[in-house]
Each structure stands twice: as C-alpha cells, then as structure tokens.
Amino acid sequence: MLGISKKDMTILLVVIVLALCAPFILNPFPTGSAMAQFNAGYPDLMQRFVIFGIFAIGFNILFGLTGYLSFGHAAFLGVGSYSAVWMFKLLSMNVVPAILLSMIVAGLFSVLIGYVSLRRSGIYFSILTLAFAQMSFNLAYSVLTPITNGETGLQLTLSDKRYLGQSVTESGSIPVTNFFGLEMRSTYDLAVGGWNFQFNAGYYLCAIIMIVAFYVSMRIFRSPFGLMLRAVKSNQQRLNYTGINPKPYTLAAFVISGIYAGLAGGLMASMDPLAGAERMQWTASGEVVLMTILGGAGTLIGPVLGAGFIKYFENIFSKINDTVLHQWFAFMPDGLEDVVVFIVHPFVGKGWHLTLGILFMLVVTFLPGGLVEGGQRIAKLFKREKAPAVPPSDPEHHPKETPHVAE
C-alpha cells in the first residue's frame, strides 16, 4: 500500500500513532504529582519535537544517504523562518503561504550553497557549508538588521501592513497565526482523573506535516534515487568510472534536505512568529548533526528520536531547580536529603549541558548505531527472553527498528 513494503508500513503506522497520540504518551504523570516535572506533553515542546524531527529527517536524507556532513544546515532553517515571518508581516497570518514561501526560499538558498559547496567533499565540504552558515548568522545579527531585526529577532508589530489580512484585531492586539481561520494556538484541554491532556491545533498541523515528511523520506530511501545516493556514499569513484556523474544526485539530495530545513523553519515561525539569528549559528547546525548521529544516522526513525532526546533535555532538565529536588527527595531524612540533592544538583537545572554531554559520550561509545541500535538491542533482549512464539509486534514496546534500515 502507498507504494511501500509491509515492513515500512508498520514503521509508518507506528510513527503515525506516536505522533497523533503524543499528548497522551508524553504526559504519563498526573498533573499534581512530583513527577509531573517530566511531562513533556505541552504544546510548545510537542511542536518542537516534531519540527526538529522534520529538520533531522531532512538532514538525514543528505547525511545518512550520501555521507556528506553539512555543518551549516541551520542556515536554511533560519532563512525559512525569516521568510515565513516576513509573509506574516506583509501578506496575512495564514500559515500556508508562509510555509510555502519558506520552503521555496530555503530551496533556492540551498541550490546556491549546495552548488558551490558540493564541488568539494569530505571535511572540505563540511567547512564550506559551515562558512556559509556562519556568514549568514553574523550578517543577520548585525549588518542585515533592517531585514532580520538583528539580536532581538524578527517580530510582528502592530504597524505591519498585512495586505490580505488585518494589521490589528478589534481588541487592539496583533492577530495570531492561523490555518484558514483555525488558530494555531487554540488548545483543547482534556482532564481525565489527575491527568490533563492538551490537544493543540498547531501541534497537529506540525504532526501531520511531519508524517507526510517522514513518508516522503521513506519513499526517497527506498527509491532508485535513494539507491544512487547510497552508491555515492559507498564509493564515489566507482560511480565516476561507470560513467555516472554523481553531482546532480548529491545536489538534489542537498536541496531536498534544505527544503526540509526551510519547512521546519517555516513551521517554527508559524507556531511562534519570531525568527532569531541564533537559529543559524553553528551550534544550531551542530545540534541537528548531533540529533541525527545520536538517533542513528541513515536510519529512518533515528533522527526523530535524536531530536526528541535533545529537545527533551533542553526543555525539561533545565527547569529542575533545587526547590524541585527538595520536593522529590522530601521523603528522605533531612541529612540524607541534602546529600542526595547535593549529588544530583550539578546534573540538572543549570547543569543540563553536563548531563547531555555525558549522555552523548555514553551513547556513542556503547551504541555505535545511536538510539536506534539501543532499541534494537532491547528488542532482541525481549525476543530472547520471551517465548519465540511471541510476534514481533509487542504492543507495550517502542517501535521496532528493523536492521535493514541501518547502514
């Protein structure tokens, strides 16, 4: 069905279920409980999960398939965001034209950068992309301020024109982004028992786009085009000898992944209409590289997992402060409580970077294939322990990564 194999269909279905049920899955703890700190099921973070998921899926099309390690992909995300916000400022608050424009602009930008950078390979390619992205960032932060609003980031104002929409709502505020009238921030709250689940319109728009993006990337992975890209990775010289010029293929992959990044940027701006220059900094480019490698480069679902992993740390661990720690360990005797808090303290709150760094090292040392390999190992463990008759579709378990996707 849909032109994909049964195995891939399973993966796709798992992704669809995960994406659509995220408000439940990410909110496992009752709202009032001490563990509620670990809940990630609020609109902003869920949106970030899928948006960075899209970004990483796109990056993986380039890096996972061709092996070209771009260190400047954040530039496309940034360009996408800027074009989307300009669309909101000039045209209307409908997200559709904004997202389309951000994909087009990012696509054009990536044709330009890709054409130049792909003249080199290996680390020389990486540094070329890095150089372009850093140039974009530095200029956006300073000289290009009329277009980018520099340090503050491009924001909407009451004096924006919005030729097809209204500049100011009746209540005197800036109109909000919408999808043909459906406001991106409108949220449906469902309280069940102690739990509170939030269903956000913006999240579902992002989630559906992510599913489509995932499907497209799956088709690319399985297509003759994808095969050609893998050939580029395994041995470019051989391709040259067989009389095939790999450049158009790699450029196409570069542009596709640039468009993905632009799409992610456009979605980010649609969920929260602000575009900051930091989105283009090398650390942002590095982040998507880390997401992809951490999740499992060259696998279908790995990048999405990696994106979720890093964003979770950034948003959840950084918010754990000493007061929260004392609440958690309040059941302990006083002296012990202080000791435990003292030990945990360096790793949470302002120390979330430290935890992230340690986890990077652990994952890459012990799971060379990234989180996907971790999943596979656990799956194997389960298979071995349980009776062999148990079908592989274990309902209480995470998506099964099939070995064939791992390179």
Binding site: P30, T31, G32, N39, Y42, P43, D44, L45, R48, N138, Y141, S142, V143, T145, N149, G150, E151, T152, G153, Q155, L156, T157, L158, S159, V168, S171, G172, S173, I174, V176, E183, R185, S186, T187, Y188, D189, L190, A191, V192, G193, G194, N196, Q198, D272, L274, G276, E278, R279, E314, N315, S318, K319, N321, T323, G349, K350, W352, H353
Partner: protein
C-alpha cells in the same frame, strides 16, 4: 470548581482531585476564557526565566538568588527585606492575595528562541501567571512580545536597550532597570566635569541593537556638552580579541575611548585597552581616558585591576546607604554571604512591585495589574522616589554614576558611587526620537 470556563492549569491542579475520573472537555479558543493561568487554588506560580548556561550564567544565578529571596519575603519568611522599607504597605507576608507564592525556573541561554521556549513552557505547562528575568535586551524584547501575545505580565530583568520601552514596548511588559538614554544623561555631565568639555571621543560598539542604542545615547549626551565624536566603530559580536580595533585609537586624535560593550565583550575590550597602555598616554595634551557606560559589578570583577578609575553608570550598587538598599543587602548578604548585584536588585524589586500591584488591584488579571503599575509612584526600593510611567512602562528613578575603586577592601568592593543623578535629569519626554515608533497596544488578559 464553579468556574470551568475560566480554567487552565490553575484549576486543574486543585480541581483534579475532585474531578477524578471525570472527563471535563472544554474548548479553549482565543476568547473562551478570561485570564490566562488565573490562579484558582491556594498558590500562585511565577516564572523566573534567567540565563543559566552561556556567558551570563553567573548573572542569571544571582538573579535567581534574588527571586528566591523575594519569594521567601512575600511568603513571610526571612527578615522581610525591602517589604519593611517599601512605601506601599499592602504586602504583609502572606503571599500574594493570600495565595502562597511558588515559582518555576527556566534557562534562557541568552538566545531569544530558547528564552521564548522556556517562557512558553512556564505558561503552558506550569501555569505561570507572570514571567520575569533575563540578562540581555534581545531576550527581554522577545519574551516581552511573547507575554503580550499569551496574556501574562512580563517584568523585565536586566535590559538596558532603549528599545525595550521604546519602539518595542508592550502593554503587558514593564521595566524597572534603567536604559541607555539614562546612562548617557547621567554620565555625560560627570564626564564633562571630570575630563573637561573639549574632549574627542572614539566609540567601540558591540554590533547589535543594544550597542547601537547605547552608542547613539552617549554620543548625543556628550556632544550636547561640547565633546566631539571622532569615530564610531562597530565590533563583531563574536570578537574575543579587540586588539585590532584598539590599536588605531591613539593615532585617531581621540583622547577618550568609550566602550559600548557588555558582559564578556566588555571584560575583553577593557582588558585589551588597558594592555595597550592607553591610560598612561597623553593625547592633545590631556590624559587619555576610557569610559564604560554600562557597568556591572559581576562583570567588572572579570576585568580585575583594569577597572580602577574608569567611569560608568549602574542601576544600583550595594554600597548605597538608604534604608531600602540596606535592608536588601542585609537579607541577601545574610542568606548568601555576599552582596547582591544590580541584576539581583532589579529582579527582586520587580517581583515585589508585581506582587504589590496585584494586591492593590485585587486581581491577577494582567490588565488590572498593568493599571495598578501604570503611574505608580513608590519609594524605599533603593533608588529613591520612583515612577512607573504609564505611557511607556519605564521606571524613572535616580541613576548612579560610578567609578572603579582604586583601593578595594574586598573582592566585592570594586565600584564607588561618584554621583547619584536625580531622576529629573534623566527623564525624557515620551515622544523622544530615540524611543519613537511602536506603541504599547492593548493590554492582554489572555489568549
């Protein structure tokens, strides 16, 4: 449990137990509920959004200490600090409107994106009714915009750019900290007095919005007193070594160097300038001088000996001897063992001002709180008589001109207050060109 239509997290926290097992589907769209995160239970949650990683992490940590102290005092703990000296007496140590104050913290990373993500999670997940904090103007303006859209109050932390209450001002945002214009207005007369009226200044400016507004302000203020501006040079944000910008200064004919840098940039540019021996030189028959318009004691520490004798301005300093400052330094110093920074002071004051405004308004609704803050005059918070101007939500108060101390007695004793510039001298009309453009818009009670 009677107001389902106005619920959000606040009611859910308390109402959850009663509604156990019961599904309460309610649709929230832009006009379906009155006040975002209106606290319904016995507690109210404030969001403290400060840099915890990156170059300003120490400043953020000091802000966080001040917030914790403020919460302690609001809830009746400690010695009450400035509650005892504050001219408004509605706060009585029973929380805010009888609700115990709780708080959540987040990391801005000094990036507008991350700061907004963090603030959003406080609003969406933790039910924060007010967001405060920050250590740079870019972040303050970005978060202020977010709070305006989300319908919560934003009490800015350390932000010095004119734009925060100028072209980017918002009805839901309030700034207690002073701004670049005020720095210029306070500093220029002192500089003219100390260094003479016929000086030639050379500006090095951090190449982003805050740097530009400060350069503009200082240039205008000093030129009005007869100084000449030889050159203004923008330095890249990522610079760590300023030697190639400082080396040509001596030969430019200038006899004063103005460093419009903050944080790590300031430490490095000042250190480099002193290394070049600029301060021992004579130009135009006068001693060459360096000025750092915005001082921060925390950052000045990073420059070590190099700050000695260098003029600048600051919002507040712990050596002030008014009752409010003394009370704050005492409770902060007793709790943490060292004096508070200006960032800590402004954050502490902002929290109390918010709590006071809510109490006077008798409501958490942002529009009521904003109305209570607008035009509010108060005293006893360390800067003398202060006005929260209604038209732009900027505080007008005394500004300190300080100088790096020659013989510090301790590691905290780095600056000495040279002059307390009265509020009247730094007040500007609402339509001043440096603050033109933009409007407050309508206050927003919630999406």
């Amino acid at each position: 449990m009677s107001k389902f239509n106005v619920t959000r997290r606040g009611v859910l926290k308390t109402g959850a137990a009663a509604g156990a097992g019961l599904a309460l589907p309610t649709i929230f769209t832009s006009s379906a509920y009155a006040v975002t995160n209106n606290p319904m239970g016995g507690t109210v949650t404030l969001g403290f959004n400060v840099p915890q990683t990156g170059a300003y992490a120490d400043e953020g940590a000091d802000e966080l200490r001040a917030y914790e102290l403020a919460v302690e005092h609001l809830n009746g703990g400690g010695d009450g600090g400035m509650l005892n000296t504050f001219s408004s007496k509605v706060l009585d140590g029973t929380g805010i409107l009888g609700k115990k104050v709780e708080f959540v913290t987040g990391d801005t990373q000094t990036k507008s994106d991350a700061a907004r993500a963090s603030a959003k999670s406080m609003i969406e997940k933790d039910g924060a009714i007010m967001i405060t904090g920050g250590s740079s103007s870019g972040v303050a303006i970005a978060v202020q915009g977010l709070c305006q859209e989300a319908g919560v109050i934003f009490m800015a932390g350390l932000t010095h750019s004119n734009d925060t209450t100028g072209k980017d001002k918002k009805a839901n945002g309030f700034r207690h900290f002073f701004n670049a214009y005020m720095s210029g207005a306070a500093l220029a007369p002192v500089l003219a007095k100390m260094y003479g009226a016929d000086r030639k200044a050379y500006h090095l400016t951090a190449d982003y919005t805050w740097g530009w507004t400060q350069e503009e302000s200082i240039v205008a203020a000093t030129e009005a007193l007869g100084w000449e501006t030889v050159n203004t040079v923008k330095t890249p944000l990522a610079s760590t070594d300023f030697s190639s910008y400082i080396a040509p200064v001596l030969n430019s004919g200038a006899d004063v160097l103005v460093l419009n840098h903050y944080g790590g940039n300031m430490v490095n540019s000042l250190t480099n300038a002193v290394q070049f021996g600029l301060r021992e030189k004579q130009v135009n028959g006068k001693n060459f001088e360096i000025v750092v318009p915005l001082y921060s004691r925390l950052m000045a520490k990073g420059a070590g000996e190099n700050v000695k004798g260098i003029f600048g301005s600051t919002n507040w300093h712990w050596s002030l001897t008014d009752e409010g400052s003394k009370a704050f330094v005492k409770s902060f110093g007793t709790k943490y063992g060292f004096p508070p920074s200006q960032a800590a002071h402004t954050c502490y004051v902002q929290t109390l001002l918010y709590a006071d405004a809510v109490s006077r308004a008798g409501s958490f609704a942002p529009c009521d709180v904003a109305a209570a803050l607008e035009g509010f005059e108060f005293d006893g918070m360390g800067n003398g008589k202060t006005l929260y101007r209604a038209e732009d939500h900027q505080c007008f108060k005394d500004v300190l001109v300080v100088r790096g101390k020659e013989n510090p007695t301790s590691e905290f004793d780095l600056l000495e207050v040279v002059e307390v510039t009265p509020a009247a001298q730094v007040t500007y009309p609402i339509d001043h060109p440096m603050f033109a453009g933009g409007s407050l818009g309508q206050c927003n009670n919630g999406a």
